[in-house]
């Protein structure tokens, strides 16, 4: 029985990683569709997201079954409830990929105003954070998870730069407004992906240490509430 439960937990972890890999891949695919203004590729993102949605439901049902049948305690309980939350976070990552693909599809009919530079960079940062968060989860590597929570600032900064630049762009050339606006939305979606990666990293610490670090419960530094979000 005990060994069977261990195997169930292992399978649950594998399934979550599979879903995470798909969600990450779909974000990168959506940004690639945007970069290349490739509508068929954007459509692939929509189709892939249905698979991610199915995976979320499967994982949720599996978690509830384990909670009901095994009545786990302490660390196993924290593991399963954390999987429930990470599962939810990954599904939201998938939604952000869909939003980005939507922008790609809407922008596809006309060429870019200028080559995309910062947005692919932002995608690489956010995708890397998501990848690292899932890796920290697999290895129960709390050091790495804590480091990750601090990386989020770089993403916020880049998102802010993209925003400010596009605002200047729109102000200088009003005909660019609709297209620049789409890029602002894409940038914000990527920033949210990084936020979700941070959430996952927080769960890694929680599983390992039964310690809730979100909302800076650890240090209580005042946030800069006026920063754009």
């Amino acid at each position: 029985m005990e060994r069977h439960f261990e195997r169930d937990l292992e399978e649950l972890k594998e399934q979550l990683l599979l879903m995470g890999g798909r969600a990450e891949a779909n974000v990168l695919k959506a940004v690639e569709a945007l970069r290349r203004l490739d509508e068929p590729l954007a459509r692939e993102v929509f189709a892939d997201d249905h698979i991610i949605d199915r995976m979320e439901i499967d994982i949720e049902e599996r978690c509830l079954r384990l909670l009901a049948l095994q009545q786990p305690l302490a660390r196993d309980l924290r593991f399963i409830t954390a999987v429930l939350k990470i599962n939810n976070d990954l599904e939201r990552v998938g939604d952000h990929a869909v939003n980005i693909a939507g922008s790609a599809a809407r922008l596809a009919p006309a060429p870019h105003l200028q080559p995309l530079v910062d947005i692919p960079r932002l995608a690489k940062l956010a995708g890397g954070m998501l990848h690292d968060a899932l890796d920290a989860f697999v290895r129960r590597d709390t050091e790495r998870a804590r480091r990750l929570c601090r990386e989020d600032d770089a993403v916020d900064l880049l998102n802010r730069q993209v925003f400010d630049e596009l605002i200047r762009y729109m102000t200088a050339d009003p005909s660019a407004v609709p297209r620049a606006m789409e890029l602002i939305l894409v940038s914000r979606n990527l920033e949210r992906v990084a936020d979700l990666a941070t959430n996952i990293a927080e769960e890694v610490v929680f599983i390992a240490e039964a310690r809730i670090i979100k909302h800076h419960a650890e240090d209580e530094e005042p946030d800069d509430q006026f920063s754009r979000s």
Copy 2:
């Protein structure tokens, strides 16, 4: 023991409702700060959000304690895991209130370009949905919860109208770009609040019927993937 557990569940519900009420109030306060361009009121929103964050941590810890100590089954298990998720959703509602208050604070130094009409309407719709979702949760009213999931379309439509109008506005008057941009962000934050209310309504059905209705698992109608989100 059994009766004690019933009381624990009742208390958990009360606490979640309290948090929901605060989150809803904070969204409305943020929009009021925006409407009146009232920076001190915007600052109150930031302060209140810290209370909401604390409440989230308390509720989460309480859920985990109940799962560990009571090892609940079936409906009680679904209830507690749903509370964990609704808790998370409400905390995000609080974050959206903070984002809106941030826009209010940034816009406060100069008068509005024109009186706000659609955004307060959107706030009323989204706040109403959140209120109804929590009410459906208390009453375990799945009919109301299902109705609510359909109301989300009205919010999406209004958000879309606000977006299109502000895009036209920015195109016509480039000097309005930075201010109009803030309003687009506010509108999107409100649309997300309505999405979170829909999530909560889905959980209500799930608790009552052990049936996952999200991602339209029930009807599998194709979404309009090209709609703006």
